[in-house]
Point group: D2
Chain length 155, copies 4
């Protein structure tokens, strides 16, 4: 959960509850001297995994259901320099029977980038989708006010 100090220091806008703080690594700075665009996807991945851990889910493994990316994107609004501390926040905006959309934002002294991922709830070893458990769904909606798009038919 974000703290009041984090929200103030990084100037996080309302409606974000979850996030992780990152110090750019040497290997995340590229020849141009700024954080490489790929680092944000690694950070979002960590935010996504921590999100489910925070909600009480066990660690993801190949033989139990977990999120698999269907599509993902990121928009870079300002370059992040090696000395910036970065907060990356994540929230679920909608949820279906076995998929959901997560949005991300990156903050230093205000917003520097934002992204999104559509994920399916998937058992890798079985190559099969699985429904999101009801209690997990309830916790997500309670945390983020996510739109519940579940219908009997859709995924």
């Amino acid at each position: 959960m974000l703290t009041g100090t984090q929200i103030a220091n990084f100037q996080v806008e309302p409606n974000w509850s979850h996030g992780l703080q990152f110090t750019p690594r040497w290997g995340e700075i590229d020849t141009y001297g700024h954080v490489n665009h790929g680092a944000y996807f690694v950070w979002c991945e960590e935010v996504r995994i921590a999100y489910f851990k925070t909600l009480g889910e066990p660690p993801f493994s190949p033989d139990s259901p977990g999120p698999v990316i269907r599509d993902i994107g990121f928009e870079y609004m300002r370059a992040v320099s090696p000395t910036d501390e970065v907060l990356v926040t994540g929230r679920v905006t909608w949820i279906r029977r076995s998929s959901f959309r997560m949005e991300y934002a990156a903050w230093t002294d205000g917003l520097v980038g934002r992204g999104h991922a559509t994920c399916i709830w998937y058992i890798n070893n079985m190559k099969a989708t699985a429904p999101l458990p009801d209690d997990l769904r309830r916790k997500i909606i309670a945390l983020d006010g996510s739109e519940d798009r579940t219908t009997p038919k859709n995924d």
Copy 2:
């Protein structure tokens, strides 16, 4: 430039001229046993850099103009396994005075994913955009039939 063999083996659809072949690395396979979604962005980055090298541009550096990502995205249509060989193709679909859009596609035995990036032509050390050189613009349009969206005003 793609060879006829590559086009046949990977079942590449028409209108792609440029690409690179990748063998998934051990570090690109994640706990789920498939290629991690982040690897595709690394591959697209290599395709983008090779694209400009192929067109005769010098290596990119902090004090000369080169592409910086404004936004980027990827859609995953099928998982890629550790033993798949992957061809990633890239082409410029439109070009403005100092920005362009590149599209990507990943192929094993047919299409397995596709992506895009909007890039600005940018001098990192000066924190300033630069116009794409005319001869580079001409070569891009000659190669990919890119739409020329240059106007006196826009970027």
Copy 3:
């Protein structure tokens, strides 16, 4: 600087003053389900950079002196699992005019691995070694009790 809590929780042995804590990232776990051996080098790199930052050095850049690796190694004593928190410590064991040796150790509930790097103090853009500044040398020796191997002749 390590805290008493870190020293107790990770069961750190005496004579380590500096370190950073890491939560293994999803991308650092490989197909085998444990932390990939390469992640430790990334962690040691972050520990090394933070070490100099802690001693008051400015961020490293291509045109000012900084550490460049001459040789590096790591020994893995126990596998680290995705749910382990890892503390990586670093200290300088000897220092010459323009080179030094850093040792590393990784801890979860006791020692899980150890490594070392010999670094030269080097200006990348000039392709030239530089002497370690005297005040930096003094701070290193004060922190770690490093052996001073400086002689008029050696590097």
Copy 4:
């Protein structure tokens, strides 16, 4: 297997039979403008995996035996620039019942670095070592002239 052209172009010294060629990736170049020391470990990993593939071993997985790193190191003799093509060679110098030592060398126009890894043959899901299969042992020795250190007692 190395080709005569590779051996000539990269000025490879005698007694290396196996290797892979790498074009440094954008993400492998760090702020200093040269290939980061960590990239060599990724390249050695690929060389190691390709070595066993070349000898007919199936892809490594958590529930079958494969190489796990006990210790690893690398010595950097010359910096590699973004425009260098790099050949990394690997060979097994000795082999025991369930462990072996692999040596590596990196070449551009001659030797630029060398490394080594001691590996155990290990089933990750069982957390147990396994003996190297006899036919694999024979193929390794036939390829590299590796010293056979197998005794009834040792590992």
